[in-house]
């Protein structure tokens, strides 16, 4: 074939090729428009109903009488407000540690069960997700009351002569929050235990490791991601907790969420409420950024 022939062939082929390309581009752009249309309502809704209010709240935090950053300065500078932040962090850490310690055996039990028992046990973890936090907290109020069943059991057992003060204190807040947040720790640990290849445990046993050695050297390291995910979630949620400490705690059990509420509803100082909110959000985002390498939040939420 001569050069002339080749170039003629190319000339003929070219328009066909180009028509195909144009058609494909048209198709691709139509696809892109459809994709945008599908996503648009959600994005518009979240922008208007979520991002915009938060931006308004942010500008509000800067509109303090004492200058742009004075609201932030006031919160960080005040010993009382700082104490509330520290107290909230300590509460969150305690609740997280205890939740993870309790969640691990529960998740382990789930991973060993089969059929009907498994369904029952999983329902034990999932049902609390569905039940109103208010109802669950209310139940704890009834249980921990002065004349409630916990006190009468303790007296019947002879642990105490007269009813103990179980409500409106640290104990009640911790119990209530752990009860509400525990499922968030159980599910990711359970998921990581399910992913664990049972042959690795067999291999460890065959190589001479005891049950405890296998747990410490194989099971625990391979489920560490699940533990980290559960811990992060419990920690983040407990930082913003409001209802449970409000109902079960005493006057000194003040959390940041209750402080924000107090700024808005009692003292009517919106800039302080807004500034406190953004400091809390900042803490949460920092923790989330650290944890992001371990977990996929979306994955954790859907297990229910």
């Amino acid at each position: 074939m001569t050069t002339a022939e080749t170039s003629r062939e190319q000339k003929i082929a070219y328009p066909i090729h180009r028509a195909g390309r144009v058609f494909a581009t048209k198709l691709a752009s139509r696809e892109a428009i459809v994709t945008c249309l599908l996503l648009l309502p959600a994005v518009l809704f979240l922008t208007g109903g979520f991002v915009f209010p938060l931006i308004k709240l942010f500008t509000l935090s800067l509109e303090s009488e004492g200058g742009t950053l004075s609201a932030y300065r006031e919160i960080i500078g005040s010993e009382v407000f700082r104490a509330v932040f520290v107290q909230t962090l300590i509460l969150a850490v305690t609740v997280t540690v205890i939740s993870v310690l309790l969640a691990y055996p529960a998740a382990y039990l789930l991973s060993r069960l089969k059929d009907g028992w498994l369904t029952l046990a999983i329902y034990c973890v999932l049902v609390p997700f569905w039940i109103s936090v208010l109802v669950r907290t209310f139940s704890w109020m009834l249980l921990l009351e002065r004349n409630g069943p916990v006190n009468s059991t303790l007296m019947w057992l002879g642990v105490t002569d007269q009813p103990l003060k179980l409500l409106f204190n640290d104990l009640a807040v911790h119990l209530g929050m752990i009860h509400v947040l525990l499922p968030y720790a159980v599910l990711p640990i359970y998921a990581s235990l399910l992913k664990l290849d049972p042959r690795l445990l067999q291999a460890s046993n065959g190589l001479g490791a005891s049950g405890l050695q296998t747990f410490l050297r194989v099971t625990l390291p391979l489920t560490a991601a699940g533990v980290a995910a559960g811990a992060t979630f419990v920690f983040l949620l407990s930082l913003g907790f409001y209802i449970t400490p409000m109902l079960l705690g005493g006057f000194h059990n003040l959390t940041v969420a209750m402080l924000i509420d107090n700024f808005v509803n009692e003292r009517l100082v919106w800039p302080l409420a807004a500034a406190a909110s953004f400091i809390l959000l900042f803490i949460i985002l920092v923790i989330l950024a650290v944890a992001a390498r371990f977990l996929s939040i979306g994955q954790m939420l859907v297990t229910r």
Partner: protein
């Protein structure tokens, strides 16, 4: 050979106790609601259904149930429509964009609810949505929609991508493909996401505290006020009603899911 290990046995017993701790305390409201006396007491001294009669005959409680139902239905409807469209859209974008958009959709679950609440309160006061069913429903949708996006997203991820392609190859129009291939596949996700969206809105307290006002009190707000101010057994009766309705809805969803799985 399953070796008998005391450590493993102990862990399992502890696990069972934790599961009991998760479930049993929830039901403390049930016996309290059947107590005849005006003080809340467990176990009840004498049984009575008087607090249920009081609950179902009090116009304030009935109005609260009606408001909550309206709000929850509206929030669920908006969440299902917007959330399903978004889930379909997320399947079509590249991984990076998908990650960013998913982050936006889930953000309302990460930002403390109290913060969202005061921000919404502030904005809605200005535009007159405060104290309205629509305002509450829009606020709740922020918390409900993520569950629709996630559940539908999972159903979509399970759908064999060659099925819609095969349908297209057979000459089906996009809308027809959606109706005959995609929709049946995401039905369990829609059911689960919708039900959880409904219950999330129906039980929501914090946003409602700020957005209810006096005109649109939801059931949880009525309960919240009763618990904080009066603390009567009617609150226990109301809680029991909510509890039973929720458990029934939960079981219904599990049933639908188990059928969807097979």
């Amino acid at each position: 050979m399953r070796e008998r290990s005391y450590g493993a046995g102990f862990a399992q017993v502890l696990g069972a106790l934790v599961l009991a701790f998760l479930v049993l305390p929830i039901f403390a409201v049930v016996p309290a609601s059947f107590n005849r006396s005006s003080f809340i007491k467990i176990p009840p001294q004498a049984l009575s259904t008087r607090w249920y009669e009081a609950f179902f005959s009090d116009p304030a409680w009935l109005a609260a149930i009606l408001t909550s139902t309206k709000v929850a239905l509206l929030a669920t409807f908006i969440s299902l429509v917007i959330g399903t469209l978004a889930a379909l859209g997320l399947e079509r974008v590249e991984a990076r964009t998908k990650g960013l958009l998913t982050g936006l959709m889930l953000a309302p679950l990460i930002v403390p609810v109290i913060m969202t609440s005061i921000a919404l309160y502030y904005v809605m006061l200005d535009i007159g949505l405060h104290g309205s069913v629509l305002g509450l429903a829009l606020g709740h949708t922020l918390l409900c929609m993520p569950f629709v996006v996630l559940n539908v997203g999972i159903s979509l991820a399970r759908l064999d991508p060659s099925l819609p392609r095969a349908a297209a190859g057979l000459g089906a129009e996009p809308l027809y493909i959606f109706r005959t291939v995609t929709l049946p596949a995401i039905r369990p996700g829609l059911a689960a996401g919708g039900a959880f969206a409904f219950i999330t809105s129906f039980d929501e307290v914090v946003i409602s505290i700020f957005l209810s006002g006096v005109s649109a009190k939801t059931l949880p707000i009525q309960l919240w006020e009763q618990i904080r101010i009066e603390f009567t057994p009617v609150a226990a009766a109301a809680s029991t009603v909510i509890l039973i309705a929720t458990v029934l809805l939960f079981l219904l969803v599990q049933f639908i899911r188990s059928r969807g799985a097979t």
